[in-house]
């Protein structure tokens, strides 16, 4: 049993951290967030150059075949640096392409940094239930026709192609009857309304109005997409968990620094025991969260039930830690914590939005209890 990162992983982390420190400062990020597009081509190209887009792609498609642990290292750094580029969306989308097995060309483009992806899965009513799909995929000649509206598609407006879940059979919340497609965003009938999110990222409402796609756009078996959807969603969870741990660590360190330097009544506020114990509690949360981010990355290769169990557990524990650390970091920063001026508030906002992405604590607690093993007691 070994919890250390290997040399290559350490190098990826170092390279990313150097780049963030040098070229993706808090002020630079702020300019990017408030720019019309909300993302930076320069930053994207740099991520590609650093090998980040190639990392998760199989070697056969020009990538490095990076596994979930490799991605853990990368996502931690992006979380630390509050990077708002459409990297998570693209890597997550690439997982679908990889599971599909028939998208070699697109994966090559992802590896080169030439194809950005986004996952259009949620709908207005669906909350975190990925099977709660009203979007319809009908047979259309040799291909399919998609109709429906997807909401809060993260970086949907920045994507070149979308992964779309649609119902080709079954009723609204059936896990049977779900199909997955890849749809270029310039396909006629795709209407994207791009907007900011409160954590400085972008998302979009995406309408599919009689969108015709060829047979080759189908990523799963027709109506048999649920397993792929769950597996890719769990992979997305592992990425978000890693990003959250990076953000929590940065937030924790900033708070520790703040309480060491901020003085009240002639003393550093970090000398007050009530605040010290709060910091100790934050530290404990951070370390528990870190353990779970490692565990979920390592368990991505397990059988489906164990993968689901650990993915939900990680999202729960990291969600709890993120709320505690986020709220307390702001509190310990005092007035400065509720301004837009320090990274602290932005880490807090990002952490909160991660909690609302791919299932919150209660959703994953429920999912955890629904796994067969949960009821066993001997």
């Amino acid at each position: 049993m070994d919890f250390t990162f290997n040399e290559e992983q350490q190098q990826f982390a170092d390279a990313l951290r150097r780049w963030v420190d040098k070229d993706y400062s808090f002020d630079t990020r702020k300019r990017i967030v408030h720019s019309p597009s909300g993302v930076s081509d320069v930053a994207w190209n740099m991520l590609a150059e650093l090998g980040m887009t190639a990392l998760p792609v199989p070697e056969a498609q020009g990538g490095f075949s990076g596994n979930a642990v490799d991605m853990l290292v990368v996502m931690q750094e992006l979380g630390r640096g509050l990077v708002v580029e459409p990297y998570f969306a693209t890597v997550w989308g690439a997982k679908f392409l990889q599971l599909a097995g028939n998208q070699h060309h697109r994966l090559e483009d992802v590896a080169k940094g030439e194809l950005k992806l986004a996952c259009a899965l949620g709908e207005k009513h669906s909350r975190y239930d990925l099977a709660d799909i009203k979007t319809i995929a009908g047979i259309n000649g040799e291909g399919y026709r998609i109709d429906g509206t997807k909401t809060v598609v993260i970086h949907g407006g920045q994507a070149d192609a979308l992964i779309v879940s649609a119902r080709s059979a079954g009723t609204q919340r059936d896990t049977n009857g779900i199909s997955l497609f890849v749809v270029p965003t310039d396909t006629p009938g795709v209407v994207i309304r791009d907007y900011r999110t409160i954590d400085g990222q972008r998302a979009a409402t995406v309408q599919f109005n009689h969108v015709a796609v060829p047979a080759s756009a189908l990523l799963s078996k027709l109506g048999g997409g649920w397993d792929m959807l769950e597996e890719a969603a769990d992979y997305g969870v592992s990425l978000l968990c890693a990003e959250a741990v990076g953000a929590m660590e940065a937030l924790f360190n900033a708070t520790l620094e703040y309480v060491k330097t901020r003085k009240q009544f002639g003393l550093a506020i970090g000398s007050f025991q009530a605040l010290q114990h709060r910091m100790a509690d934050m530290y404990i949360h951070l370390e528990q969260a870190r353990s779970m981010a490692m565990l979920v990355a390592a368990r991505m290769v397990c059988d489906a039930e164990e993968r689901r169990r650990v993915a939900s557990a990680a999202k729960v524990r990291i969600g709890q830690a993120a709320k505690f650390i986020g709220q307390q970091a702001v509190q310990l920063h005092g007035g400065m914590g509720v301004t837009d001026e320090l990274p602290a508030a932005h880490h807090f906002k990002r952490l909160t939005m991660i909690e609302l992405t791919l299932g919150d604590v209660d959703h994953h607690l429920e999912r955890f209890t629904a796994q067969r093993g949960f009821q066993q007691h001997s």
């Binding site: 809060v152 309304r193 907007y195 900011r196 409160i198 009544f265 002639g266 009530a274 007035g335 609302l356």
Partner: protein, 396 residues
């Protein structure tokens, strides 16, 4: 023990309700209930409607324009305003500087300022906090040096709420730096149009412009603007601290927000059923509703016991009040789920009629949650309140 309103109180409540029904403009009510941002004009408009009724400063002595209401009636008034969704009557004039002027100001000051406060002719802001003095207020550094019939003020205030709208600021300034820090502080009223004053916005984490830094660069303030005696300002400031904390409890508004929370929880679904019917989520709402019930009862215990400023129990009310307000916003965000992510400042500021996603109710809520983290920080952080409880009530 009798925990029911008297017939007189109930009649009073009917009067208040009738007044609000007839006089609260529906556009203001809509903004408040939907968590949109209020303009200067929104605040002033409502304040002046209430002033015309003679109710803009219920807690003042009748001689200055108060209402003569009992504490219970004042509570009912606040409850009903909150229930209807009125803009707040900002506390800086009515509840903060006015009591100090009444208690320690001279006749000229009383005659000039109090009627203007009643009617919101002046918009007041509070110049207490400084960058280096948050919880340790007495360590403030802004100086006022006497030069003939003026003070020359230099320094910086911060966290000055809505100073961008203000006509006047009341400041704690250091007039003697050779003595113990509490003993060299004076209480000055300063016209915000005086040359040398610069207001710099501090943008909150929800990108709202709510607080400011105020810089003083050789600002000339007439000595008539000194309240009471030079170097006695700390006494006057302390006199105010209790006033601030009870308002922060906000039981009435929390009751309205609880209904709002239930409303959105009945409109958002989980596995095809309203969240209000989800056992886990409804238990959270219930627990919060019960917390609020306990707080409300505790507030009533405190206000019916004393006719004057509440004692250190106000610290308890502030802690619980702020926590409940925060939990309400937290559960609202939880209701929305991914729908909390979209952020549309144009809609929040009234520049667009509808939110970009089409969900107007949802649009302000994540910002509301983030913004409300302030409630456990301002007005004396909750840690400071616990210090007060520890010392003043528990004797530790």
């Amino acid at each position: 023990m009798d925990l029911t309103y008297t017939a007189a109180d109930l009649a009073f409540r009917d009067t208040v309700r009738a007044f609000l029904d007839a006089n609260l403009p529906s556009d203001l009510q809509k903004k408040v209930r939907n968590h949109l941002r209020l303009s200067r004009q929104d605040y002033v408009r409502w304040h002046q409607i209430v002033a015309r009724q003679g109710w803009s400063a219920p807690a003042w002595p009748v001689e200055y324009g108060g209402t003569g209401w009992t504490p219970t009636q004042r509570h009912i008034w606040e409850e009903e305003c909150a229930r209807s969704g009125t803009p707040p009557i900002l506390p800086f004039g009515v509840n903060m500087v006015a009591p100090v002027i009444m208690a320690f100001g001279n006749e000229a000051q009383k005659a000039h300022y109090l009627p203007r406060i009643l009617n919101c002719d002046d918009w007041w802001c509070q110049g207490y906090s400084e960058p280096g003095s948050g919880s340790d207020l007495a360590s403030l550094k802004t100086t006022a040096e006497r030069a003939g019939d003026h003070y020359i003020v230099n320094g910086q205030k911060t966290w000055t709420t809505l100073a961008q709208h203000a006509d006047m600021i009341f400041c704690l300034v250091r007039t003697d730096s050779t003595v113990r820090k509490q003993e060299g502080i004076s209480f000055l009223l300063i016209d915000m149009k005086t040359p040398g004053i610069t207001v710099r916005p501090i943008i909150m984490l929800d990108e709202d412009h709510e607080v400011n830094e105020v810089f003083f660069d050789n600002v000339k303030v007439p000595v008539q603007n000194l309240i009471g005696q030079e170097n006695k300002g700390w006494t006057y400031a302390k006199y105010l601290l209790g006033h601030e904390r009870t308002g922060i409890t906000a039981v009435g508004r929390s009751k309205r927000e609880l209904l709002f929370l239930k409303k959105i929880a009945s409109e958002h679904y989980k596995h095809g059923k309203p969240l209000m019917q989800d056992p886990v989520f409804s238990a959270k709402i219930a627990s919060l509703e019960i917390d609020l019930m306990a707080l409300e009862t505790t507030v009533l215990r405190v206000i019916t016991r004393e006719s004057h400023a509440p004692g250190p129990e106000a610290s308890m009310l502030k802690v619980r009040g702020s926590e409940i307000q925060q939990q309400l916003t937290e559960l609202m965000v939880e209701v929305l789920g991914p729908g909390a992510l979209p952020f549309d400042t144009d809609y929040l500021e009234g520049k667009a009629d509808h939110a970009v996603t089409g969900d107007d109710a949802a649009a302000p809520l994540a910002g509301y949650y983030f913004n409300y983290r302030k409630t456990s920080i301002y007005g004396g952080s909750n840690e400071i309140q616990k210090n007060i409880i520890t010392q003043m009530i528990l004797g530790l």
